[in-house]
């Protein structure tokens, strides 16, 4: 399985907001209604295509419970993208976003792309957080925003893929140092020898590099 890039993601947010369900829906295309508490961290992977390039996503699904918070912190540094998830039917999960965001900003590399996700959009009747509120929060903190439903799969693909697109664009702009694996990005095995100058060449070189291949 060759790929052009490999991105590492983490999924964070309060317990019970549907992080594991989002991952399962994305990797296995199925929904598990029974809430199984994530212990520590679980791993999932999938291949996507952006700009006709194969991109491998490696996703670490973290435990939302407070007890695992310090463990979760160990994953920020090495991730290129984070999905910050809240539950639109539980306001408190929305209220905790700032705590999560502070934590993420403090421990991650500054270029990590954070996607804000209001999950459980299928439960419209029980909605406690308006879509506009999510949008406003995202705007205020410079995040990308989306409402998803891990149950109906609405927007789940988009959430993961749009995050990847952001990261991809940042790579093209030369913002990420691809040679530093601590950023959560790896160049694919077949990709690196043919394109060795890409990462170091800066913004202009980077975009040129992508144009020629």
């Amino acid at each position: 399985m060759s790929y052009a890039y490999l991105f590492k993601y983490i999924i964070i947010g309060d317990t019970g907001v549907g992080k594991s369900c989002l991952l399962l829906q994305f990797t296995d295309k199925r929904f598990q209604p029974v809430h199984d508490l994530t212990i520590g961290v679980e791993f999932g992977a999938r291949m996507i295509t952006i700009d006709s390039k194969q991109i491998k996503l490696q996703i670490w699904d973290t435990a939302g419970q407070e007890a695992f918070r310090s463990i979760t912190r160990s994953y920020y540094r090495g991730a290129a993208g984070a999905l910050l998830v809240y539950d639109i039917t539980r306001r408190e999960t929305f209220n905790h976003l700032t705590t999560w965001l502070d934590d993420a900003r403090q421990h991650s590399n500054s270029n990590m792309v954070i996607m804000l996700i209001g999950n459980k959009s299928d439960l419209e009747s029980r909605r406690e957080v308006k879509k506009e509120e999510g949008e406003a929060f995202a705007r205020e903190h410079g995040l990308v925003f989306m409402e998803t439903s891990a149950k109906t799969a609405a927007n789940v693909e988009e959430a993961f893929i749009n995050t990847a697109k952001e990261i991809y664009e940042k790579i093209q702009e030369g913002v990420f140092d691809i040679n530093n694996e601590a950023n959560g990005i790896k160049i694919g095995p077949q990709h690196s020898p043919t394109n060795p100058s890409l990462p170091g060449a800066g913004g202009v070189g980077g975009s040129q590099g992508s144009a020629c291949c």
Binding site: M1, K8, G40, V41, E42, F43, G44, A45, Q58, W60, S70, I71, R73, S74, Y75, R77, G78, H107, E181, A182, P189
Partner: protein, 810 residues
């Protein structure tokens, strides 16, 4: 030593002439110097001296100096040298090992000083993060001792260190950065530290994997020359093993991250390996790699993970590489053993891989299937025990969930096979089954039994196998030969092996039971064993096993052997052995230590051949069948009228069942009727009671009625006599009322009549008066005329009036 002493002198300013300070005294002075001296150089020298004394006077340095040293770590950050001494000293006092120098002081070796000092140091949760922060210091004098100190602490108190590191921000990240270190000694110690830290802590394992451990470690391994590399390669592999063992998430990551493919270069054996041979380090490294592969496909993993890893291993040509090692020459026996085990687990339950394995050929002349070559080693007494176990395990893995493979092996034994003279697996197993080596018997029996697992077709096929025992003698079936051999061999291991094979064969296979029952002496042997009372040298296992076989003979008996029908056998057990004893014997198997060990995992975990008595799949069968056997015998006991259910033929049995159903049905109906009857009876009683009551009331009412009648006739007031609840009386009252109303009506009529009469009378009277007046008028006129005298007229007038009134009065 002289140099050291002079150094010490310079630090302490020289001892007073004539007296030599003792070790503990020196330590005390040094500690106070470190804590009080204002000059960095003095503190540094004192620290250096403490380091020198920390092995010999470990107890003193630790007890007095721990706090001071900790202080130095916080206050003298800027000076790498003193920090280095400090960390070294701490490392020494917390070390688990007992130093040479210490032994001179005759310390109590049971008292683990290092562990106690480690505990002391870790008690304050702020201490460890300080050490972690020194990992970021690039200076070799600081970073290296910091790592060594952490190793020391982790060796003594792994759990505590793991917990603190998990909660300290970026703790694991700092440790992982050390793998990128270009000073090899630091990097290698970092690997060692990580090995200690990742032991049995899934969270740390996952973080380490997340931090690109596999990439970094595989890079180190490839830099060091793969399996030809030094001990670092082994350490890296050990760390990888720690990350993968029992950690599904990491195994998944390992597979998804295409790291399996990166293992391939490790399995490439150099062409001239036979000349250069295997260095001990290479053997160790190779062991680790094989262990790594086994961890990925271990039967303990979730099935989904196993299957996908097996597929990846095949696609990455690792299965091919492993098989070629299997067939290569000059491979050390223990590597070969582990390779056989590994191949087994890579093909276990995976049809494609099993098929691949079937077609692997050994480079002999003529080429033989690898399978045959392996079985040859298994039944060869001269081969090492572990290797023979590995072959059996590999063979079992090959047959696991592999009907085609099972058929393939059995096929080689059937008489119909062509005149091929080449040795086959089946032939090897058969000769092993009855050879003089009990271990070969056991191996062959177990191997054959695996051809029959959940495969009724092969059980019947194997019954067709005939053996020519003696020249000119009648050929006998394989199963009867097993029955004969069972009685002849004196070795427990051989007996148990054969019994396991027979039990696997007879389960759910009545034709096999039939053949076995016909083996002369077999039942007598079983009965004798089951009722025996010896209890040593694992004899209880043999007795239990014989009991088990007897039970299977009852359970899967089609009553085609007259002497040993279901009923006869059940009675045999009950009369000769006794049900209680029988159950006790049966229980002995499950209670045996070797049963518990064998039932735990499919892998064969025996260090010595004497431990090989029971086997995993047999344990599974036993667990399922034990209950059914006891139940079958229990049912027999319940039928006390002599005719046992077990003695009936199929048809009779069906009939019996039919009748049973009928009786059950009738029973149900009877019960229903009884219930109905009781209900009706009760209803009847109720009605009767009601009737009596009503009769009573009726009589009462009649009485009352008569009374009323009497009262009525006597003219008493009806309204005073009341019995409103009574319908009859109400009726009477109604009647009476009606009569009353009628009378009232009549009365009213009469009154009306009367009134009309009165009115008539009045009218008549008026008329009369008017007539009278007229009459008087006429009289007057007549008088006037003078026709009548006055007085007479008046008298007659009165008498007339009286006569007129009379009828009106009447």
């Amino acid at each position: 030593m002289e140099y050291f002493k002079s150094g010490l002198k310079s630090v302490l300013g020289g001892p007073p002439p004539g007296t030599q300070p003792t070790g503990p005294e020196t330590v005390e002075k040094l500690v106070s110097r470190v804590s009080t001296s204002t000059l960095l150089e003095d503190r540094r020298d004192a620290c250096r001296a403490l380091r020198a004394l920390s092995k010999k006077y470990r107890l003193e340095v630790g007890a007095q100096g721990m706090d001071v040293l900790r202080q130095v770590l916080e206050l003298d950050r800027a000076d790498p040298e003193i920090i280095g001494y400090c960390l070294d000293t701490l490392c020494n006092i917390t070390s688990k090992e007992i130093f040479e120098e210490e032994r001179e002081n005759d310390v109590n070796p049971n008292l683990n000083v290092g562990e106690q000092f480690s505990e002391m140091f870790l008690k304050n949760p702020e201490n460890l993060p300080v050490i972690l922060s020194y990992l970021e210091e690039y200076d070799f004098r600081v970073r290296w001792p910091a790592i060594k100190f952490l190793i020391s602490l982790t060796t003594c108190k792994p759990k505590e260190v793991q917990e603190i590191i998990l909660v300290s921000p970026m703790g694991m990240s700092k440790l992982m950065d050390l793998l990128a270190e270009n000073r090899e000694v630091v990097r290698n110690d970092a690997v060692l530290l990580l090995i200690h830290l990742t032991k049995s802590n899934a969270n740390i394992q996952k973080i380490v994997a997340f931090e690109n451990a596999f990439d970094k470690l595989l890079n180190i391994i490839s830099d060091e020359g793969y399996t030809d590399g030094g001990i670092v390669v082994e350490d890296c592999l050990l760390l990888m093993l720690n990350l993968l063992q029992n950690n599904t998430s990491n195994i998944n990551f390992f597979k998804e991250g295409s790291y399996i493919q990166k293992l391939t270069p490790m399995f490439v054996l150099p062409e001239n390996l036979e000349e250069i041979g295997w260095s001990p380090q290479k053997v160790s490294n190779f062991h680790c790699v094989l262990h790594l592969v086994r961890t990925l496909v271990s039967p303990n993993n979730p099935a989904q993970i196993i299957t996908s890893c097996q597929k990846t291993l095949r696609n990455a040509n690792l299965l091919e590489a492993l098989c070629s090692i299997l067939m290569a020459s000059g491979v050390p026996a223990d590597i070969l053993t582990e390779t056989i085990n590994t191949v087994g687990e890579v093909i276990r339950g995976n049809l494609t891989n099993q098929e691949y394995f079937t077609n692997v050929l050994a480079p002999s002349n003529p080429p033989r299937p690898a399978l045959v070559v392996l079985i040859m080693s298994m039944v060869n007494e001269k081969q090492p025990f572990a290797l023979r176990c590995a072959v059996l395990y590999c063979f079992q893995c090959f047959l696991y969930k592999n009907e085609i493979g099972q058929e393939l092996v059995v096929q080689t034994l059937l008489p119909s096979s062509s005149g091929n003279t080449a040795v086959t697996t089946g032939q090897l197993l058969c000769s092993g089954l009855f050879s003089n080596d009990p271990l070969s018997n056991w191996f062959s029996a177990v191997a054959l039994s695996h051809c029959l697992i959940e495969n009724p077709a092969q059980k019947e096929q194997l019954l067709r196998v005939l053996l020519a025992t003696n020249l000119g003698a009648q050929p006998v079936t394989l199963l009867s030969q097993c029955g004969v051999f069972l009685q002849h061999t004196s070795k427990l291991q051989a007996k148990l092996g054969i019994l396991m094979l027979i039990s696997m064969w007879m389960a759910h296979c009545p034709p096999a039971v039939k053949i076995f029952l016909n083996v002369p002496g077999a039942m007598a042997f079983l009965t004798a064993q089951t009722s025996a009372s010896e209890f040593d040298n694992n004899a209880e296992l043999l007795q239990g096993m014989c009991a088990f076989i007897m039970g299977l003979c009852v359970l899967f008996n089609d009553n085609s052997v007259q002497n040993y029908s279901k009923e006869n056998l059940s009675q045999l057990i009950e009369k000769r052995v006794g049900l209680e004893t029988y159950c006790k014997k049966l229980n002995e198997i499950a209670r045996h230590e070797l049963y518990a060990r064998a039932a735990k995992q499919p892998q064969i975990r025996a260090k010595h051949s004497s431990e090989l008595l029971l086997e995993f799949e047999f344990c599974k069968l036993f667990k399922i069948m034990e209950g059914s056997i006891i139940q079958a015998l229990g049912v027999q006991r319940d039928l006390s009228n002599g005719i046992s259910e077990l003695s009936l033929s199929e048809h009779e049995n069906a009939l019996l069942l039919q009748y049973k159903d009928l009786i059950r049905d009738q029973d149900k109906k009877l019960q229903e009727c009884q219930r109905k009857y009781a209900f009706l009876q009760k209803q009847f009683e109720d009605v009767k009671a009601q009737k009596d009551e009503l009769q009573q009331t009726n009589i009462q009412l009649i009485d009352q009625h008569t009374l009323f009648k009497a009262q009525m006739s006597s003219g008493a007031n009806i309204n005073n006599l009341e019995n409103h609840q009574n319908d009859n009386s109400a009726e009477i009252i109604e009647n009476l009322k009606a009569q009353l109303a009628k009378k009232d009506e009549e009365l009213a009529d009469k009154i009306a009549e009367l009134e009309s009469y009165q009115k008539d009378q009045d009218d008549l009277l008026e008329l009369l008066t008017a007539q009278d007046t007229k009459l008087n008028k006429f009289k007057e006129k007549l008088r006037q005329i003078g026709a009548l005298p006055k007085e007479e007229d008046s008298n007659s007038e009165i008498s007339d009036n009286e006569d007129d009134n009379k009828p009106s009065l009447l």
